[in-house]
């Protein structure tokens, strides 16, 4: 865990896309006892970095992500996005991509992507144009008129990513977005996400259960332990980009994955 004092505040100008978590704690009060879900969590994500949160079930990694999205408030500590607190969801600063089934089935792909803009009252022509750009970006040009049930699992998640990016926020948060996909689609979507990330330069914070996915995608991997949720390791993946399938069987990849696995086995 990084001690608080080591985090040097970025200059305000360079804080667009920065995610700073300082001494964050979360306590759930139940009728019988208080459960500490997160304890003194501090981390910093520099603008444009791809950071993956991993940890056993119940380590609070999704809770932490929901705090960055402004969907949940921490009991103590500070969460800063672009250098400012996030007391409620702010789609201009943060786009969120959820697990499967988060698209509205009664809307077409492009209407789903436009949804955040519709809420803000953006004129239809402008909305449509932005949705088309987002569809192109995620490789779904020409699929805008389809409904979610007419799309494959991978395509649905591409639409979710497009919806998360349509307002051009500096930060994209992803909560186990590929968990429900089959292995092959998952690999393809990983490559696709890296391509989109490289093209847009967004800060990405990505939660997953898969260690392979974590190391394959990330610049940095933050490893958490369960009950209470703490950061036990924060490692940098030195593998060059673009990442390739061959790297999965290499020594660097293997040793990083082993290191994460040892942490998780210890705490689970």
């Amino acid at each position: 865990m990084q001690p608080l004092a080591n985090i040097t505040p970025l200059k305000p100008a360079s804080r667009a896309g920065a995610v700073e978590i300082r001494g964050v704690g979360q306590v759930f009060k139940t009728s019988t006892q208080d459960v500490t879900a997160l304890e003194d969590v501090s981390m910093e994500v520099k603008p444009g970095r791809f950071v993956v949160l991993v940890g056993p079930s119940g380590c609070g990694k999704s809770t932490l992500l929901m705090m960055m999205a402004g969907l949940r408030q921490q009991t103590s500590g500070t969460v800063l996005i672009n250098g400012a607190p996030i007391p409620k969801p702010d789609p201009n600063r943060v786009g969120v991509v959820f697990q499967e089934a988060s698209l509205f089935p009664w809307l077409t792909a492009e209407e789903n992507i436009e949804f955040p803009l519709t809420l803000r009252g953006t004129p239809k022509v402008e909305r449509r144009a932005k949705a088309q750009d987002a569809l192109k970006l995620v490789g779904l040009d020409g699929f805008g008129k389809r409904h979610p049930h007419e799309l494959s699992g991978g395509m649905k998640q591409r639409v979710s990513i497009a919806r998360g990016l349509v307002q051009d926020p500096p930060v994209l948060l992803m909560d186990e977005p590929f968990a429900a996909l089959d292995e092959q689609t998952r690999m393809t979507m990983g490559d696709e996400l890296l391509r989109i990330w490289a093209a847009t330069g967004k800060t990405v914070v990505f939660v997953t259960h898969s260690l392979t996915e974590a190391v394959y995608l990330a610049d940095e991997v933050v490893v958490m332990s369960a009950r209470p949720g703490r950061i036990v390791d924060h490692l940098t993946v030195s593998l060059p980009r673009p990442r390739t399938y061959e790297m999965l069987s290499g020594d660097v990849f293997g040793s990083l994955r082993d290191r994460i696995w040892r942490h998780i086995r210890k705490s689970a």
Partner: protein, 251 residues
């Protein structure tokens, strides 16, 4: 849902076969024609009945009772159902009770409605309302529960207001279940009003059907049965048609 042309033709064939069987049984005397007048005679009688002012008046009376009961029961039932579903405490307390109430045959309460309201419009509407409201409440709670928590989270994360969440998430999520509720409640409603009219009434189409039955006017009775069946099926199919148009996304 509606199937291919082959299925449609088969369905038409079944209906035609039923009428042909009816006609044959009656014409050949296998069934006494006094008990079962032929289909053609009954349909001819139907045409004749529609010309009669008294019959048209009875239909109007029944229609006004059915619609009044429906217009009262559906919004009120939907509101109660919504409040129950949105409040955990209400839901836990009320749900088993609703199931109890729903399982009781409503017809045993009909004499009480007559005692309270007297024989007439208010009694028919009251009993129709009573027959309908439980199914509306139960269907609405089911409709609210069909709203996915993931969809609400998405709306929240993109900054939706309460009104936007209501109209852009709750309403479209609930619409298919609500339309189905509307359809099924009409079946209950129509059954209730017809029963009340047949049991004790001075007018209304149900009263007319009961009278024809008692007087052994089989041609009129069968014509009346066909007429009410057609009206009920038409309403049902109309809502089903809207349902399939609104819920094409449901798989």
């Amino acid at each position: 849902m509606s199937g291919t042309l082959g299925f449609k033709l088969a369905r038409v064939a079944v209906v035609v076969a039923v009428f042909l069987l009816w006609e044959t049984l009656s014409r050949t005397g296998i069934v006494n024609p006094r008990l079962l007048p032929s289909a053609s005679d009954s349909l001819a009688m139907l045409g004749e009945l529609l010309q009669r002012a008294s019959v048209r008046n009875d239909l109007l009376v029944t229609a006004s009772e059915v619609l009044t009961a429906f217009i009262l029961a559906v919004p009120l039932g939907a509101l109660i159902g919504f409040l129950i579903a949105e409040n955990r405490y209400f839901a836990d307390v009320a749900k088993p009770l609703l199931f109890f109430a729903f399982s009781i045959p409503k017809s045993i309460f009909l004499p009480m409605f007559i005692l309270v309201f007297g024989v007439g419009f208010a009694e028919k509407v009251g009993y129709g309302f009573f027959s309908t409201i439980f199914i509306v409440i139960m269907s609405t709670t089911a409709a609210v529960e069909s709203v996915k928590i993931e969809h609400l989270t998405v709306a929240r994360s993109y900054g939706a207001t309460t009104a936007q969440t209501a109209f852009r998430v709750y309403l479209p999520s609930m619409l298919p279940v609500l339309l189905e509720a509307l359809r099924i409640s009409m079946i209950f409603n129509l059954t209730g009003v017809m029963l009340a009219e047949m049991y004790a009434s001075r007018n209304g189409f149900g009263h007319q059907i009961a009278t024809w039955g008692e007087n052994f006017q089989m041609k009129q009775l069968l014509a009346g049965v066909v007429m009410i069946s057609v009206i009920a099926i038409a309403f049902n199919e109309l809502i089903r048609w809207i349902e399939t148009r609104c819920s094409h996304w449901r798989t």
